[in-house]
Symmetry: C2
Subunit: 205 residues, 2 copies
């Protein structure tokens, strides 16, 4: 694709670096911006730069934040003795959207995956262990991806804190709401059977 202007071409190349965006989509976006008011595009550009420059990561849970401590950690209405361990910020946003969790988070920044060169030292695991000790956390809930890497991470952290008086749980695996039983994979179905719930408890939840 040959573009008639190097300014246009640079902008298209930058957009095409974004995940899931090819050159054609990038061009569509840039031509859209070209039609907008110059002040709006300036605002877009400034918002981006400012976001990257000024955004902080919560010193306690590593969630993104406008301040040194994020709004969830700073909220005294939330149960500060319950920590939900997640892989990344997107998981925090997903769980927050359910409006069903009233504890705090700890963002690992990834999961243990030797094949991708990610070991425990690259993740926020040390800080989690310190935090559990210091804050006398009552419950640790793992909400990690249901795969080998997720299970390895759970196993590793669980080993590190087994001497501490903290309940450790993991979110339930099972047939997704609205999912068809016959299309569920064997692993999910097997775990779902093994971890069956009394109907009374199911109705209550």
């Amino acid at each position: 694709m040959q573009l008639p202007s190097s300014l246009l071409e640079n902008a298209v190349n930058e957009f095409a670096k974004l995940p899931g965006i090819g050159k054609k989509t990038a061009l569509r976006m840039v031509l859209h911006l070209l039609k907008q008011d110059i002040n709006e595009v300036e605002y877009f550009s400034e918002t981006l730069g400012r976001m990257r420059r000024e955004i902080k990561f919560c010193q306690r849970c590593f969630n993104v934040s406008d301040a040194d401590i994020c709004s969830i950690c700073a909220n005294s209405q939330r149960k500060q003795h319950i920590i939900c361990v997640v892989e990344n910020i997107r998981d925090v946003i997903a769980i927050e959207s359910t409006q069903q969790f009233n504890g705090t988070y700890h963002v690992l920044g990834g999961i243990i995956s030797p094949l991708d060169g990610v070991g425990p030292d690259q993740l926020n695991i040390e800080s989690l262990v310190h935090r559990i000790q210091k804050e006398q956390t009552e419950e640790l809930i793992f909400a990690l991806s249901p795969n080998i890497q997720g299970d390895t991470t759970i196993y590793y952290i669980q080993k590190k804190i087994q001497h501490l008086p903290c309940t450790v749980t993991t979110i339930a695996r099972g047939i997704a709401f609205g999912g068809e039983l016959e299309y569920a994979d064997e692993m999910t179905l097997a775990r779902s059977l093994a971890n069956r719930l009394p109907v009374q408890q199911y109705v209550k939840s």
Copy 2:
């Protein structure tokens, strides 16, 4: 979707204004940028602002350009007496990609569409008529969308320049290369039959 930071939220809202981008995709893009080096994001942001501020439109053909006259109009290797009339910049890029056209362009900036409130005065039609007169253009090729609006625009411009000694043509309508005959709509098929070509001419092209 509740976001843990207003800086993040602003950036997501800006991205979500782009065509075809929803909030979830916007979030994915912003979180991707968050992981990038700060200098790279600054460069992205600057490139965008600079593109909108500094980009020019060619004073002759209204294509985007880095200078007052675009690289196509300034190229003496191209046939300056042939003008291809297109709706927008994307069409110029599409035709340039074929590497089969060696004339110049005229970007109308839209097509006549009374239902959308677009009349001839909002388009670069006056300048086209002046240009044909002044430059003694030999051929005008319409490459507009094959619909009522496109045909109206062709008819309107053709009326305006009928007194000028300029050949007026339009790109061929027909069955697309690789298209299945049985799935072509009646209009296309009918036109394709009416405008049939001698096989010798077809083989040559």
